[in-house]
Amino acid sequence: MDGSHIATPPLVEVDDLTVRFVTREATVHAVNGVSFAIRPGETLCILGESGSGKSVTLRALMRLLPPDRTRITGTMKVDGRDVLAMDRRALGAYRGGLASMIFQEPMTALDPVYTINQQISETIIRHNGGTKAQARARALELFELVKIPSPERRLDAYPHELSGGLRQRAMIAMALSCGPRLLLADEPTTALDATVQIQVLILLRRLQKDLGMATIFVTHDLGVAAEIADRVAVMYAGRIVEEGPVAEVLGNPQHPYTQGLLASTVHGQPRDQDIQAIPGSPPDLRRLPSGCAFGPRCSQAMLACRTIVPEPRHPAPGRMARCLRVQA
């Protein structure tokens, strides 16, 4: 992270975040020293596969991880406030008020026994006070903002009465209800159909620009990252292995993992050839290999990669890659 590019103070500052899940049987090193900063109004896309630690990072930012099993070190600051130091009351104001989250599966993220209006109004009243009528009016506004057709009728519907795309829009409306400055999105379009996914992506892009929210968007889909991100951070085995503006990371990847991801994503490859797949599988987070976590699968690995964890290198301003082959 090159400080010279940050003119305005960052909204989100995460420094050396480490998350471990400790059980009697094993310790899972989910996140291992993640640092990034986000300016207000900027969209960062965290790109990674399962086990990369991307969802855990997001949930750590909202303090949604199970407290008895989780050990978090490092600092997380949103709008100058230390998230790890927040007590229950501060957390309550923070969640939904300053930072909001939308999830992958709207059916499980919405309570099935309450109408959408009841759920949104509850959030609004909890954060901003006011009467039920005022909250409902605001919910209606939000439904129009997220382009839900027939909003009055849909407000009084139960989650199971809405289709997948509408549920996701309702969840977005709920997340935006108290004007958060930071939106956390955990693969919100993965479970949607293609024609609905593109609608929701465009909607999110527009909302984020109009409302000036900073967004952290977690996904495993490179196309989604290309559509929505300003900057991209690629995660592997709990570390950010590459970071930079989206066009540069996708167009000129520096880290072998990013290169492998791009090569193995099916997108117009010739039909008579094998796809260049990354061999092997992601490492077991209970027993990370020494040195670079990607080393065992890397076609460009050197002997040093087995022992040294690469520190962040900056091949260009605003770009970072954790690879011994990248010239700083």
């Binding site: 596969e49 399962s50 057709p149 289709s163 997948g164 795309g165 509408l166 159909d193 293609a194 024609t195 609905v196 996914q197 593109i198 609608q199 992506l201 465009i202 892009r205 495993h220 889909d221 490179l222 196309g223 989604v224 290309a226 559509e227 991100a229 989206v246 066009a247 996708l250 492998g260 991801l261 193995s264 994503t265 099916v266 997108h267 117009g268 490859q269 039909r271 094998d274 796809i275 260049q276 797949a277 990354i278 061999p279 599988s281 992601p282």
Partner: protein, 360 residues
């Protein structure tokens, strides 16, 4: 690079009945409706709604090809997959496997069909019996088909090698100890252990990470060559379908809306829905983002679909004729034909953009 133990199949399959000219599978007008469990008002069947999951689907499947089936939720592709194996019995229509009608008195029995056609399921937590070691799951098929337990286990071990899993290391394991990609290889092994001629892959790579998806796709291609298989590849991911398919079938709300060779479908789509679907793929280039979604709204529910052409409620070119008449697919029997169920494509249909009767 081919795996050393996989070789190309040179001999023709002894079970082949009609030669290459005969399609391996002909589906004719398949139909399946599910009754919706209504409340008291529909207790006696009055106006009971039905989910018209598959509503008149016809296509041919040629030997040695990969037919990709694409569509969104509610289009009926998963139901169709199960109809092809008679896991769900069709309400109407017929299935002809290598010249024999399935479940007909003089045709091929379902049991015999299942010796030649198998299915690979999506990798979910329930695709493998959680209380069975993986090699037993794979050996179950051959065992049921009449082999002894020892023979079945040998076949299972052999197949596990062919899908890239070391049987000594992976055989005794339980599904929860395997990664997604490994589980999917087991699913593929389970289907191939019976030595089928045709494999239906129902969203077989959808739940996998992209890098693992690439591995499994490569494996599927190799296995197809080695075992001389015919694939039906069902997916919602257009990019994957484009890569692996020879021909593509597009479904919408229980109907086939377009069918043709893969390049024709992807380069020159005929049906407005196909065009919209192709245009919904996120661009990989941040400099050329999609500004407007090609389609608005959600796919409608297959309960009580729109009359006439089911896509007309979201189609930019809809006209009164589209509500009145169901468009017909056209010549779907040939390998090369590229047809769409759209009034614009049908000469003399009455649509303003259609060609006049008797032309083309």
């Amino acid at each position: 690079m081919d795996h050393p133990t996989l070789t190309h199949a040179d001999d023709a399959d002894p079970r082949d009945r009609g030669g290459t000219a005969q399609p391996l599978l002909i589906a004719r007008d398949l139909r399946k409706h599910f009754q919706v469990k209504g409340g008291p008002a529909t207790l006696f069947g009055a106006g009971r709604a039905a989910v018209r999951a598959v509503d008149g689907v016809s296509f041919t499947l040629f030997k040695g090809e990969t037919l990709g089936i694409v569509g969104e939720s509610g289009c009926g592709k998963s139901t169709l997959a199960r109809l092809l194996l008679h896991l769900i019995v069709p309400d109407a229509g017929e299935l002809i496997f290598d010249g024999d009608t399935v479940a007909a008195p003089d045709g091929i029995t379902v049991r015999a069909l299942r010796q030649q056609v198998q299915m690979v399921f999506q990798d979910s937590y329930s695709s493998l019996n959680p209380r069975m070691p993986v090699q037993d799951s794979v050996a179950f098929g051959p065992y049921v088909q009449g082999r002894s337990q020892a023979e079945a286990r040998d076949i299972a071990r052999d197949i596990l090698v062919k899908v890239g899993l070391n049987p000594a290391l992976f055989g005794p394991r339980y599904p929860h100890e395997l990664s997604g990609g490994q589980k999917q290889r087991v699913n593929i092994a389970r289907a191939l252990a019976i030595n089928p001629r045709m494999v239906i892959l129902d969203e077989a790579v959808s739940a996998l990470d992209k890098s693992i998806e690439a591995q499994v796709l490569n494996l599927l291609r190799q296995l197809k060559r080695s075992f001389n298989l015919t694939y039906v590849f069902i997916s919602h991911d257009l990019n994957v379908v484009q890569y692996i398919s020879d021909r593509v079938l597009v479904m919408y709300l229980g109907h086939v809306v377009e069918l043709g060779p893969v390049d024709a479908i992807f380069d020159r789509p005929l049906h407005p829905y196909t065009t919209a679907l192709l245009g919904s793929r996120p661009s990989m280039d941040p400099a050329h983002r999609i500004d407007e979604p090609p389609l608005t709204g959600d796919p409608p529910s297959p309960i009580n679909p729109p009359s006439g052409c089911r896509f007309r409620t979201r189609c930019l070119h809809a006209e009164p004729i589209c509500a009145a008449t169901v468009p017909v697919l056209g010549a779907w029997l040939d390998r090369e034909s590229h047809v769409a169920a759209c009034h614009i494509q049908t000469p003399g249909s009455g649509h303003s953009q259609a060609a006049a009767q008797g032309s083309a």
